[in-house]
Amino acid sequence: MSRIIVITSGKGGVGKTTTSAALSMGLAQRGHRTVVIDFDVGLRNLDLIMGCERRVVYDFVNVINHEANLNQALIRDKRCDNLYVLPASQTRDKEALTKEGVGRVLDELSQSYDFIVCDSPAGIEHGATMAMYYADDAVVVTNPEVSSVRDSDRMLGILSSKSRRAETNAEPIREHLLLTRYDVPRVESGEMLSVKDVQDILSLDLLGIIPESKAVLTASNAGVPVILDRESDAGQAYADAVSRYLGEEVPHRFMTAEKKGFFNRLFRG
C-alpha cells in the first residue's frame, strides 16, 4: 500500500521544496521506493533543489496529456536508487493539472512506489488544491511567524473540507506540523513564536523542528537535499522527522540553545 504525502503551507518561501527534497530522500534512504512530484507548474524548482535540472526531458504535464509515459518522465536520483523525481512543466499554466489526470498518474505510481511525496505550490489556488486532493498524509510546513501560522491554519481547513478523503467521508488526512527556520536564540529572547506557541494555535502532531541553518542554502546551492549533510543541524533534524514519520519515537532536538556553562545554568535556573 503506497501513501501519498502532500508537503503544503499556504504561504510561500517557508521551505516546502526543501522539505519535499529532504523527506523524500530520507524515506528512500530507509529503503522505501519513493517518488517526489513537483506540482508547481510554471515555476518548477524541485529539480534544482534535487540537482537533476539538466536531466529533465519530459514532465508531469506531458504524462497527464499522454505525450510521454511515466518511465520517460521519471528521473532516477543518482545518489539513491529508490528515489525518483517527477518534474513540473516550466511552460504551461497550473490549469494543465486536471483532477482526473493527476488521479490517474498517482494511481499508476502507487502500483510501484511506497511513498509519493507531492511538493505543493504556495497559495490555495488550483495547483495547491491538486497537490493535496489525493493525499493520505499532510506535512504542513510553518515558520514561527504570524502570516505563516495563519496561512497554515487556512490550509488545514482546506485539507479537512476539500480533499478526496473529506469528500468521500473516508478517514481524514493525517496532518503533521513541521516548524522550519526555528531560531532558538530569538525564541529564548521572546522575539519569535516558540514551538509551544505555534502548537497552542494549530494543535497538530509535531513532526519536527528544523532550526534556522546555513546548511539549507549551502545544500540548495549545490542541488543536494540537506538531509544528506549529516553533519548539519538541519540535516539531522530532517532525519529525525523522517524517523518520526515512520513511527519511531525520537525526542525533539534543536528546541533549546546549546548546553551552557555551569555559571550560566546556575544563574538562569
Binding site: E145, V146, V149, R150, D153, R154, G157, S161, R186, V187, E188, S189, G190, E191, M192, L193, S194, D197, D200, I201, F263, N264, L266, F267, R268
Partner: protein, 89 residues
C-alpha cells in the same frame, strides 16, 4: 555578565507574546467563519427583507450567530427592533 543577563531576560520584552495573542484571536475568527454554512449571508439578507416589509430596521440591527456543538448546530438570530414599534403597538 551571567547575572546581568539573568535580570535582563527574566522578563522578556520581545514581541512574540503580541504575535501569539493576535494569532489566537485571528485564527478563532477565521475558524468560526470557515465552519459557517455558505448560505448564511444570503439568509440574513432575505430575512432582513421580510422584516423590512413590516418594520424599518437596518442591516446592523440583525446579528447572526452560528455555533457548532457536538451533536447539533445552533443558528441564532438577534434582531433589535427600533423603539418606535413598541410604542405604536
Amino acid at each position: 555578565m551571567g547575572l546581568l543577563d539573568y535580570f535582563r531576560n527574566s522578563r522578556p520584552d520581545g514581541t512574540a507574546n503580541v504575535a501569539k495573542e493576535r494569532l489566537q484571536i485571528l485564527v478563532a475568527h477565521d475558524r468560526a467563519a470557515r465552519n459557517r454554512p455558505s448560505y448564511l449571508p444570503q439568509l440574513q439578507r432575505e430575512i432582513l427583507d421580510v422584516i423590512r416589509k413590516y418594520v424599518d430596521v437596518d442591516m446592523s440591527a440583525v446579528s447572526v450567530n452560528y455555533e457548532q456543538e457536538e451533536a447539533h448546530e445552533v443558528l441564532e438570530f438577534n434582531i433589535i427592533l427600533p423603539d418606535a414599534i413598541r410604542h405604536a403597538t
